[in-house]
Amino acid sequence: MEITWYLILSAFIFAIGAAGVISRRNPLVVLLCLELMLNAGNLALVAFSRMHGGEAGQVFALIVMVIAACEVVIGLGIIVAMYRNRLPIDIDQMSELRG
């Protein structure tokens, strides 16, 4: 089995996700892009797992999905809180960490 194509696809998806996280201002889109990055990682894990014939990679992929779910819960919670407090839904406006 040729693994290269899977890894190229995974890298493409990861790059799209990373570009989205860096460039987009809407937190919902940022969250979606994060999911893309995580799932790109998952794809690579599953591909390697198939190549080596072990289960460990697939188990890791399952755990990553759980963590992704948790992260979405928290991220959406933050966005709802922003909305409830009538804050702008724009991550560039939330720059209190500036030194």
Binding site: V21, I22, I91, D92, S95, R98, G99
Partner: protein
């Protein structure tokens, strides 16, 4: 029991009284704290008598007993124990201090009856007596310094006893600061002595002093001068006297206790105790004699002009302590200490009488507003007059024998000392005059409204106010209480004054030239090594001195009578004729103003300079501001990274991870 056991008991009773009252004040109802304190001092007095009886059983050269409870400090070959020295001098001082203190406690039980801080007052009072007894019983310099500093602290507490009165708090601070000058001098003197002699125990130091130091050795003179500074600060001698008149802010019994009978005599005790050192350094002793003489004249003139009743007595105290300092400095130890004792009697009595009058005046202390109390307060009048007679040295009263004995000593030593003696007689004239100025102005003349009210049967109650500034006050804790007590109405006050009046009349017969010599004989073992034995005047010379002193006293009293009773306007006319002199005296020779200009203002200016320039510009501006500036500039790059934009952080993270990955990839291949 041995004399030293009695010595420890003398210390234990007042200490126990302090602890019991300060810990249990909530549980002690009414006047119980006062009675506990009074009985503690009475027991200390009984223990002093026990020590006296036991000491008299010893033969004359075995009357200096030292007892050490435990080692207090030990470093290298230096060791100081918690030790007491029981000898005739310390027992004599214990008897005077505890005896007079007992009567003053008794007086206070009634006088402070209306005050809200009753228990606190007696806790302080007992602590003060404990400190004073520790001072006189100390067997080495360490304990002496501890007692010395305790006395200063206790006097601060008692002067500022009415702590919500600003003038009282300021007076307390002033007394404490000046006393600390003396403490420092005493500590440095002890260091000098330790350095040269190698011991701090009193008796070994005295024994070795003659061998270690040459006569008028530089170090010894310096040490003795420092001891004198300590003595001057405690005994309110020039130029460290300014705290004592201000200390009259405390309650009147406190003035009687601290500023007449005990604390201010500590300096006299110190000089007498250190006499082997002073005799080896006559130059320092002469300084003591001259300062004592200057002080007695200075204070005598100020007492002529001041109108505050308690301050007149305070200046009179400064003046009388001047006699004692002069006496012990010229080796008239017996006479000086005899005067210390009689002075304790009549000066405590005068303060008590003044307290009674101030009670009748509802807190007013100004003599200009007093007059005619003779019929309203016959008991106070009689006892106060007895005290004034003794102070004036009227023939056959206590002060007559003691003061003139010192002066006879001076005249007998001749030379420069004779000049001091003559000046002492001038001071005696002033003393008799201002003593009876008080009597005539307070008790003679037309009765003031308060006196009339008291004759009608009740004590006047004015608006409570600060007698110094006239500001209104309340009567809650921290201020004088609402009730005023006069000796006529309260038996403890009456009893204390009666006993002191009797002592002021007959106390002098302990030492009549040619007839009795109890005090000098008793003190003999302490001063046996004095080299001035043969300079003591003969009985004939002393009798001559007594006659001169008696005549001076009678003439001065007569003059006072003429000025204040016979021709009542004379004093005002003299004042109008000599306004400059009067202002000079009323302002106490401008000592306070001088110190204000010499010390207070430069220090305040320097402090202001420090606050403005050093603190604000240098410390905050240069050091603190410079340090923060460096950090601020140095971190500006790090701060620039912290944009606060989430996307920027994400980018940095990505770049970082990518960089690391690339690094490992390149390295691994």
């Amino acid at each position: 029991m041995s004399a030293t056991s009695y010595g420890w008991l003398v210390l234990a009773f007042p200490a126990a009284g302090t602890v019991v009252i300060s810990l249990g004040w909530r549980l002690l109802p009414g006047r119980l704290p006062g009675w506990i304190a009074t009985s503690a001092i009475f027991l200390a007095f009984l223990a002093s008598i026990g020590a006296l009886v036991d000491l008299l059983d010893h033969s004359e050269d075995e009357r200096q007993l030292v007892d050490t409870a435990w080692t207090y400090a030990s470093t290298g070959n230096f060791k100081a124990g918690l030790s007491i020295l029981v000898d005739p001098l310390s027992v004599f001082m214990c008897l005077v201090v505890s005896g007079v203190s007992f009567l003053i406690h008794l007086y206070s039980v009634a006088y402070m009856g209306g005050d809200r801080g009753y228990a606190r007052y007696f806790a302080y009072l007992n602590f003060f007596v404990f400190s004073m007894l520790l001072l006189v019983l100390a067997g080495n310099f360490v304990i002496l310094i501890i007692g010395w500093a305790f006395v200063g602290a206790a006097s601060y507490l008692l002067i500022s006893y009415w702590y919500r009165r600003q003038t009282a708090v300021a007076a307390g601070i002033k007394a404490f600061v000046i006393n600390v000058i003396g403490d420092v001098a005493l500590v440095v003197a002890a260091f000098l002595i330790l350095d040269k002699v190698g011991s701090l125990d009193l008796l070994p130091v005295f024994e070795k002093a003659g061998d270690t130091f040459a006569r008028n050795d530089g170090t010894l003179v310096a040490a003795c001068l420092l001891l004198l500074v300590g003595a001057f600060a405690k005994s309110a001698q020039l130029p460290l006297h300014t705290w004592l008149p201000d200390a009259m802010e405390g309650p009147t019994p406190v003035s009687a206790l601290i500023h007449a009978a005990t604390m201010v005599t500590a300096g006299v005790y110190l000089i007498a105790r250190m006499h082997p050192l002073f005799e080896q350094a006559p130059a320092a002793a002469d300084v003591g004699a001259i300062v004592g003489c200057a002080t007695l004249l200075f204070a005598g003139t100020v007492a002529l002009a001041v109108t505050d009743l308690k301050r007149v007595i305070a200046y009179s105290t400064i003046s009388q302590i001047g006699y004692m300092v002069m006496g012990v400095s010229i080796a008239a130890y017996g006479a000086g200490l005899f005067h210390l004792m009689t002075h304790a009697f009549f000066k405590a009595l005068l303060f008590m009488g003044a307290g009674s009058v101030i009670g009748a005046m509802a807190g007013v202390q100004d003599m200009d507003r007093m007059g005619g109390f003779r019929r309203a307060m016959p008991f106070t009048f009689i006892t106060f007059t007895i005290g004034a007679l003794a102070l004036a040295g009227f023939p056959l009263t206590a002060g007559f024998f003691s003061k003139d004995e010192i002066l006879a000593f001076e005249l007998n030593r001749g030379g420069g000392y004779a000049v001091l003696g003559v000046l002492g007689y001038v001071g005696a004239f002033l003393t008799a005059f201002y003593a009876f100025r008080m009597v005539f102005r307070v008790f003679y003349g037309d009765p003031v409204p308060e006196a009339v009210e008291l004759e009608g049967g009740h004590v006047a109650h004015g608006e409570p106010m600060n007698p110094m500034t006239g500001e209104p006050e309340d009567t809650d804790v921290g201020f004088p209480g609402p009730e005023h007590h006069v000796a006529e109405r309260a038996w403890p006050m009456k009893g204390a004054m009666g006993v002191l009046a009797a002592l002021a009349l007959v106390g002098g017969y302990l030492s009549v030239p040619g007839i009795s010599d109890v005090i000098e004989k008793f003190l003999e073992p302490t001063f046996a090594d004095s080299r001035f034995h043969d300079t003591a005047p003969t009985d004939g010379a002393e009798v001559l001195g007594l006659v001169v002193g008696g005549v001076i006293s009678i003439v001065a009293i007569g003059l006072a009578w003429w000025v204040y009773v016979r021709e009542p306007g004379t004093a005002t006319r003299i004042r109008e004729r000599l306004p400059r002199v009067h202002a000079f005296l009323v302002n106490k020779w401008y000592f306070d103003e001088l110190y204000e200009a010499l010390f207070v203002r430069p220090v305040a200016t320097f402090g202001g300079f420090g606050r403005r320039v050093i603190e604000t510009d240098f410390v905050q501006g240069t050091i603190v501001g410079g340090a923060t500036g460096i950090v601020r500039v140095g971190t500006s790059f790090a701060r620039a990274i912290q944009t606060g934009y989430l996307r920027a952080y994400a980018l940095l993270l990505l770049v970082g991870v990518a960089g690391l990955t690339l690094y490992f990839l390149i390295n691994s291949s």
